[in-house]
């Protein structure tokens, strides 16, 4: 095991989590659940309800969640063995500078700034809608621009405390959210016609089953790729993997069915609005506030971790800077200065390049390193710490990543899954092929300093 680096940037952002700081599987389960639970997943279920019958919707959400559960299990297990974040882990398969570029692009910019501000804007917009439903009018503090602003500030606060902050919030918020969702969904579905009617209802715009599974996988593949950001805290290597697997397999279908069943019965899928309408106002507010808060502080947390691997800045400082940018953008969007479409299009394009990272990572950790380089002991397969030598660029890793991101949409099937598989296969072909032909695929040298950078 390598010597321990000093945690100069906070929250063990660029160093391994010390063994005395590791967390229980239950805690990890709650944190992962906090990331999952949000309005967007319920709306995603609503989209399924528009195109599938109840039973098909159930099958599609379970199958999609199983695929995500399996991919995320293996990526989280890497975090459990290495006790390092996704971006630090990438130093081995992308090279030190490669990990800076890949992490900053797909997680720093996409999660930390882009999706953070979109989710904060969504929070403000939905909050003001519910406020109108509850109180008849919208006071200034509850208007979309104001709510986007203070919502983003709340999310930044918990993210600035790092893992402890998001875990603390998850312990409190996750049970509350699930109680509100259970009570709210039951009420909304019962009033819209009941479960018996939902079982025989026909969708308004039928969609192919494979398309539905694609949508389910695509919606959360980013989360399955960067599971190590949380599982690096797991006490046993498999704890993080199982925590991820069970929360996504058990709870994602429930969330999607809540929105989907309502859509099958009515043209709407907004459980929170239906709850407010039925007089479950406090529950509706909890659903929105805690749902968005626990998800979006994770966006910021992941983004700050990625940037901490790129720039020599304290993680908390980076979190506050990104939170400030996100709050301003969200508030200005809500005030109508600009629309979200250009940003969402850009983030969707950028999002294509996140799943292949999982493919490269899985191929390197589970196949290339043990079977080509003979590093059989999973705990010692990747080393970190002062003096560790990395290549500056791992050309095989970077080429596989970019090619998979570009080619996956043109291959039939589940695009997100294709991206992972293509990244996996291309990396093995390139790295193994280059290695067999004695071609150098790792360029330059970077030696890790005392601060872990």
């Amino acid at each position: 095991m390598s010597n321990r680096s000093h945690d100069s940037y906070g929250d063990y952002a660029v160093v391994q989590v010390p063994k005395d700081q590791l967390k229980s599987a239950f805690g990890l389960f709650l944190v992962y659940t906090g990331v999952l639970i949000c309005i967007a997943v319920i709306w995603g279920g609503g989209a399924l309800g528009n195109g599938l019958t109840f039973y098909d919707m159930m099958k599609a959400s379970v199958l999609g969640s199983l695929i995500l559960g399996i991919i995320g299990f293996f990526t989280a297990k890497i975090g459990g063995h290495t006790r390092a974040s996704t971006y630090v882990i990438l130093r081995h398969s992308f090279g030190r500078v490669g990990s800076m570029w890949a992490g900053a692009a797909v997680s720093g910019i996409a999660c930390g700034i882009g999706w953070f501000f979109i989710q904060a804007w969504l929070f403000g917009t939905v909050f003001s809608t519910i406020a109108k439903e509850l109180w008849g009018s919208v006071p200034f503090w509850a208007s979309a621009p104001a709510a986007s602003l203070w919502g983003a500030v709340l999310m930044t606060l918990s993210a600035a405390f790092g893992y402890k902050g998001i875990a603390f919030l998850s312990y409190l918020a996750v049970p509350l959210f699930l109680i509100a969702l259970g009570g709210g969904s039951y009420a909304a579905i019962t009033e819209a016609g009941g479960f018996a009617a939902a079982l025989v209802a026909q969708p308004a715009n039928p969609m192919p089953f494979a398309g539905a599974v694609t949508a389910v996988v695509g919606m959360y593949i980013a989360g399955a790729t960067i599971t190590s950001d949380i599982s690096r805290y797991s006490e046993k290597p498999n704890d993080g993997g199982w925590a991820w697997f069970w929360q996504v397999v058990l709870l994602q279908p429930v969330l999607m069915l809540a929105g989907g069943t309502l859509t099958l019965l009515t043209p709407a899928s907004d459980v929170a609005q239906a709850m407010a309408h039925l007089g479950i106002g406090l529950g509706a507010l909890v659903l929105i506030i805690f749902g968005q808060w626990t998800t979006n502080d994770n966006n910021l947390y992941n983004g700050a971790l990625a940037f901490a691997n790129t720039f020599r800045v304290k993680k908390a400082t980076m979190t506050i800077i990104m939170g400030f940018i996100g709050a301003v953008l969200a508030s200005m969007t809500a005030a109508g200065f600009f629309g979200t479409d250009p940003f969402i299009n850009f983030l969707t394009q950028l999002g294509r390049f996140l799943p292949p990272i999982a493919g490269v990572l899985l191929a390197d950790f589970y196949v290339f390193k043990p079977y080509k380089l003979g590093k059989k002991n999973a705990d010692e397969r990747y080393t970190f710490g002062p003096g560790t030598r990395y290549s500056r660029y791992n050309v095989a890793g970077m080429a596989a990543w970019i090619l998979a991101g570009l080619l996956a949409p043109s291959i039939p099937g589940i695009v997100a899954l294709n991206s992972v598989l293509l990244g996996f296969v291309l990396y093995l072909v390139l790295a193994w092929g280059a290695s067999a032909m004695n071609l150098k695929y790792e360029v330059g040298t970077w030696i890790e300093g005392e601060d872990g950078f």
């Binding site: 967390k23 239950f26 312990y171 049970p175 039951y186 039925l278 479950i280």
Partner: protein, 131 residues
């Protein structure tokens, strides 16, 4: 093991179980089946947590850290489920007649305050609240 941690170890599951069972019994008195159903479902949370805590103490290594972890996780359930009751009680859809509402409300406040009390004390003793 410090005296206060030993005390929490002895009574956290009992308090949780008792408060959960009280909520379960009171929930059966609700005048609508949907309210009875919801509050019964919520009361199963603390009951399950109390039972799981008993089991976890039996199989735990007995070190201060492991005992504190079990106590803290049980206290979180008390706090969040207590708040869960308080969140749903004012809703008109799950409204219950006043005596039941008052009883459930008192039970929920005690549950939440007790959970908070345990968490604050364990934090003062230096144990992690996010174990």
């Amino acid at each position: 093991m410090t005296a206060s941690l030993e005390a929490f170890k002895k009574h956290v599951h009992i308090v949780t179980l008792v408060l959960g069972v009280v909520a379960l019994v009171v929930a059966q008195m609700a005048d609508t089946s949907r309210a009875a159903g919801l509050y019964t479902a919520i009361s199963l949370g603390p009951i399950a947590a109390g039972l799981i805590t008993i089991y976890r103490h039996k199989v735990s290594s007995g070190t201060d850290k492991s005992v504190a972890k079990i106590v803290v996780e049980c206290a979180w359930v008390d706090l969040s489920f207590g708040l869960g009751f308080l969140m749903m009680l004012p809703s008109s859809y799950y409204a219950v007649q006043s005596p039941v509402s008052v009883l459930l409300g008192i039970d929920a406040v005690v549950m939440a305050v007790y959970g908070l009390y345990v968490l604050i004390n364990l934090n003062k003793m230096g144990f992690s609240l996010t174990p």
